[in-house]
Symmetry: C2
Subunit: 231 residues, 2 copies
């Protein structure tokens, strides 16, 4: 098992002095929570963190040196690339030693609410189907825009908002990243473009992606509930 934690942000969108993966949530940098969810899941799970080169020292100072050795020793880091796909590709290069049937979860660094059963289900689905992508059904009625300005109702039970983890067999992910170029909004899109089926796993409505100050405030509200339930 491995996890590839992608920290895209350099802070510009978040508007904070720190890149969003380092902002404090319940006493720890957001990315530390995210890491701990994976490191706690299984003692042999390896983690690769991909981050803009400018922040790798900060990552060591703010996060890694606060982890106990059994956790810190399982983390490797590498510099991100200009696009998210470049970053994932750089991360995959550090996981070349893993066999084809290894399972690699790609995870947003700013999703600290990755509950253990959801992670386990994503890895399980990847073992069985080649992919396991966390997603939640829409809570709102959905309409599809039509050319010309109209719209049509669609069955909201069929449409899923995609989250991370997006977990894949190593061979599936490698094949996809070596054969497909271009930008995709998520790894599932890229892997699908490479011809692999995407299997959805039940995600969680509280599995927030923290990208705005309001998200962070909501995360602070939700954290005690999450910690009480899962930690």
């Amino acid at each position: 098992l491995a996890a590839l934690i992608v920290a895209g942000g350099t802070g510009t969108r978040f508007g904070a002095p720190l890149p969003k993966q380092f902002v404090n949530l319940a006493g720890k940098p957001v990315i530390q929570h995210t890491l701990e969810r994976f490191l706690e899941l299984h003692p042999a799970l390896q983690v690769v963190v991909v981050m803009h080169a400018d922040f790798l020292d900060m990552f060591q100072d703010l996060v890694v040196r606060h982890l106990h050795d059994a956790f810190a020793s399982r983390i490797e880091t590498t510099a991100g690339g200009p696009q998210r796909t470049d970053s994932v590709r750089n991360g995959l290069a550090l996981l070349q030693h893993l066999p084809a049937e290894a399972l690699i979860a790609v995870q947003d660094a700013v999703r600290p609410f990755a509950n253990p059963p959801m992670l386990a289900a994503c890895y399980m689905a990847a073992a069985k189907h080649g992919s396991g992508v966390a997603a939640v059904a829409s809570k709102s009625s959905l309409r599809q825009a039509l050319p010309g300005g109209g719209s049509v109702a669609v069955d909201r039970d069929l449409f899923f908002a995609v989250q991370t983890p997006q977990t894949f067999r190593a061979d599936v992910l490698r094949h996809s990243y070596t054969t497909v170029r271009g930008e995709f909004t998520d790894d599932a899109g890229l892997v699908e473009a490479a011809g692999h089926a995407i299997h959805l796993v039940t995600g969680a409505y509280d599995n927030l992606k923290i990208t705005t100050p309001e998200d962070l405030q909501l995360a602070e509200l939700l954290w005690p509930l999450f910690a009480q339930k899962w930690l």
Copy 2:
């Protein structure tokens, strides 16, 4: 112009002692904020509030008697029915005096963040196209579930999460509610089933529907930003 404010809840889902439309947000019942957005929009705008019969007295006590007379005199109330469509039908019965070209916004009582330009745009669209339904594009990547367990990426720019207000020309809404039976997740779905085109209007990501205690906490966080911007 008219607004039909539908307060579905009797509190059971919210888990609070009060039905959710009465819970306190920034010092006022949620429904009072919702009402004020419409009453402030235009001095001739009429409001019909549809609510479970058991709570109509509470509505007078907690909300109406705290409004100044120019607002209170423009509010009528009626009892809801067993289904949401029955409630809307009961509300429409109080607006029979309006001409065919009148514009009626159907609004969830528990959506207090209805900003004035959005409301105006919904009424404008209804005047021009017969309908104006607030909706926001998905922020997440979307996938459609396929029979058999797979899924396929869909273009998230084409899919919109529907909110309220859902505003219609009076004749369109009346025709729809007299010809179509059955339950729909929203009025746009019912009006569409009656053969009318649905025109989407840009909604707002902060246009929350307050249905859980977490929603209320988020609303308390967002309220100062909303008030500063719009009130």
